[in-house]
């Protein structure tokens, strides 16, 4: 209170961060910076140096954006799940291996002639069960989640190799391939975008009106307008860009739909509130009667669910299941990185599933952009590591500064 002058700017920044879209500002800025670099700076460099031979202006082309979204989709699905356990202050290292087991199982089940919808359901249940087992070990046996899921990572990797002795299996089932291949017609895509935009605006204004009529404090008018316009701009421009190449793919609609559902669950239900409470202060959550252990188990089950969905998405997109694409590759670290880069705290209690989607786009854009500009795999790894450290450092700093005041 005594430092009024200094306080105001920090307060305002914090106020922006705590609005509905404000928490996305850092990761959106990171995304804009990466896209600006790969999409504008590099082509400009080529233009200035007269490099017409391999002019690298394709990053921001609709085709590349489409590929970028599809490449990031599996990472994003896992990252959304991992976000849920990060909210509790736990971690899940086995998500990618779980996705691998589920994808492999899906491939085998479909080969044996089980209807593909049924196979998908079975796989989802298996994924939930795999997460559940780990959650039970964490909550009731009391083993740190790092160790449980590290064991899970190893065990599930082995399990995947057992299911796929050759390490590779093609998935040709039309239903499963259809998830990634089906495109929403252009017009419908635009209508969906407009509907989402309209609903967002409607709910924002309705909430504002209800606040006013109940005499509660209201957000300033321009904040609401900026939120609505930024949201609308993003949604509509994404759909228009995708339409310019192909169309809005069903895979993205499913991903965003399940993310929206999880976002609603985490932010608007007593269950979600208890996730945040346990992550913020487990002891106080216990004292108000929240069943902390059940919450923990359920969070790991949700990771299992999202991992299974990620496995299905992956099998659908690649048209095959391979050991390296899931359990053995970089998927796990990319997914955890995506959740953290998105702004979800590793210390628990802060974050959102939408941030994980944006974080996955950051990771995907980095990989994609570095590939396009001819960087080596070594460069990619080093840049990704640097970005991850930067994100965690921001998290740690913002945590200590909020704890001090």
């Amino acid at each position: 209170m005594q430092r009024e002058g200094k306080f105001k700017i920090v307060d305002r920044l914090r106020a922006i961060r705590e609005t509905q879209l404000g928490a996305f500002v850092p990761v959106l800025l990171a995304l804009v910076a990466i896209w600006g670099y790969f999409g504008l700076v590099i082509p400009l460099q080529d233009l200035l140096t007269g490099e017409t031979e391999n002019f690298r202006a394709i990053f921001l082309s609709p085709r590349n954006i489409y590929n970028l979204f599809m490449q990031s989709a599996v990472i994003a699905t896992l990252a959304v799940g991992i976000t849920i356990v990060l909210l509790l202050g736990e971690i899940d290292l086995s998500a990618a291996a779980t996705a691998g087991v589920c994808a492999a199982l899906l491939g085998v089940l479909v080969l044996t002639g089980i209807p593909s919808i049924l196979a998908c359901l079975i796989v989802i249940l298996v994924g939930i069960a795999m997460g559940l087992v780990q959650g039970l070990l964490v909550a009731y046996v009391g083993i740190p989640s790092f160790v449980v899921t590290l064991a899970g990572l190893l065990g599930y990797q082995g399990l995947m190799q057992k299911i796929l002795p050759t390490g590779n299996l093609n998935v040709g089932d039309p239903f499963i391939r259809g998830i990634a291949r089906t495109l929403i017609p252009d017009l419908w895509g635009i209508l969906i975008a407009l509907a989402v935009f309209g609903l967002f605006a409607f709910f924002s204004f309705r909430k504002q009106y209800q606040r006013k009529s109940r005499n509660l404090e209201v957000d300033s008018f321009w904040v609401i307008w900026v939120q609505i316009l930024v949201f609308g701009f993003i949604v509509i421009s994404v759909v228009l860009t995708l339409n310019a190449y192909r169309s809005l793919p069903l895979l993205l609609v499913l991903l965003l739909g399940s993310t929206m559902l999880l976002d609603w669950v985490t932010r608007s239900t007593p269950y979600g509130r208890s996730l945040f409470a346990v992550g913020g202060n487990a002891e106080s959550a216990r004292r108000v009667g929240i069943k902390v252990n059940q919450i923990r188990v359920s969070a790991f089950a949700i990771v299992g669910l999202m991992a299974a969905i990620g496995g299905i998405f992956g099998a659908s997109r690649y048209g095959s299941v391979s050991y390296t694409a899931f359990a053995g590759g970089s998927l796990l670290l990319e997914a955890i990185g995506a959740a953290v880069i998105g702004g979800t705290s590793l210390f628990g209690g802060r974050g959102s599933v939408w941030n994980a989607i944006l974080g996955a786009l950051v990771i995907g854009s980095l990989g994609n952009g570095l590939d396009l500009s001819g960087a080596s795999a070594a460069d990619k790894l080093m840049v990704s590591g640097a970005i991850l450290i930067l994100a965690v450092a921001i998290d740690a700093l913002s945590r200590s500064s909020s704890g001090r005041t």
């Binding site: 705590e18 608007s268 239900t269 007593p270 509130r273 945040f276 409470a277 913020g280 106080s284 108000v288």
Partner: protein, 275 residues
Amino acid sequence: MVSKLDLVGQAAPPAHLVVRGVEKRFGGVHALRGADFEVARGEVMALVGDNGAGKSTLMKILAGAYAFDSGDFYLNGRSVSIKSPNDAAALGIQIVYQDLALCENLDVAANLSLGSEPVKDGWSFLPKFMRPIDSLEMEAKAKKAIEQLQVRTLQSVRAKVGGLSGGQRQAIAIARAVGTESSVVMLDEPTAALGVAQTKQVLEMVKRLRDTNHAVVYISHNMRDIFEVSDRITVLRHGDNVATYKTSETSTDEIVVAMTSGLDVDASRESSNAT
């Protein structure tokens, strides 16, 4: 049992919460050896004792965090059994722990209704923990609770608790205890970590709780605070009562002596008859 309550004194109202002969053992440690305790509505009862006297054990038993081995528990003249914190909360007994148990990552309103969030109507097809929270109702409730306690320094119920001062946090923890229609509020060392001005604020709040007809149990080591705010003082020593004093008729010295060396045998018997 009820007739005994009349012996408390002419000025004192009949007790609202009464425990008699509470025994509690932790393995070989005999933490409570038949302690008695009572508190009336509209009264601040201070609970004092040296370290290890059994204050926190008694308090946790009242709050349902521990079960006692033997003893009687009466609320409003009726015998009740309290086996869990939820039982205690359902009977209107609330406790504000020394560490406050707030979630710093949540805002004031969310903290105030944590664990009992109001949900919107019309979603009964979903299990209760999956129905949408009525966040506006929650904020309105929080605002009311904060206004009741006259916490003037708090600007917004949407502020994250992590950014608030110690006094404000204490206020929110107390508001949470009061907000759930409680009749008994127990405060564990509420001023231990606070500065002078904030201590004053909290003591004012405790007096307001008394004025709103709550039964307040105030646990503290700080004699000045106790003499400022309490009506009666119960002294525990070695897991048993030493005596219960009226604050207006005793002195700091007397309490300190009672805490550290107890009374002589005759006086102790007399006082345990009286309570």
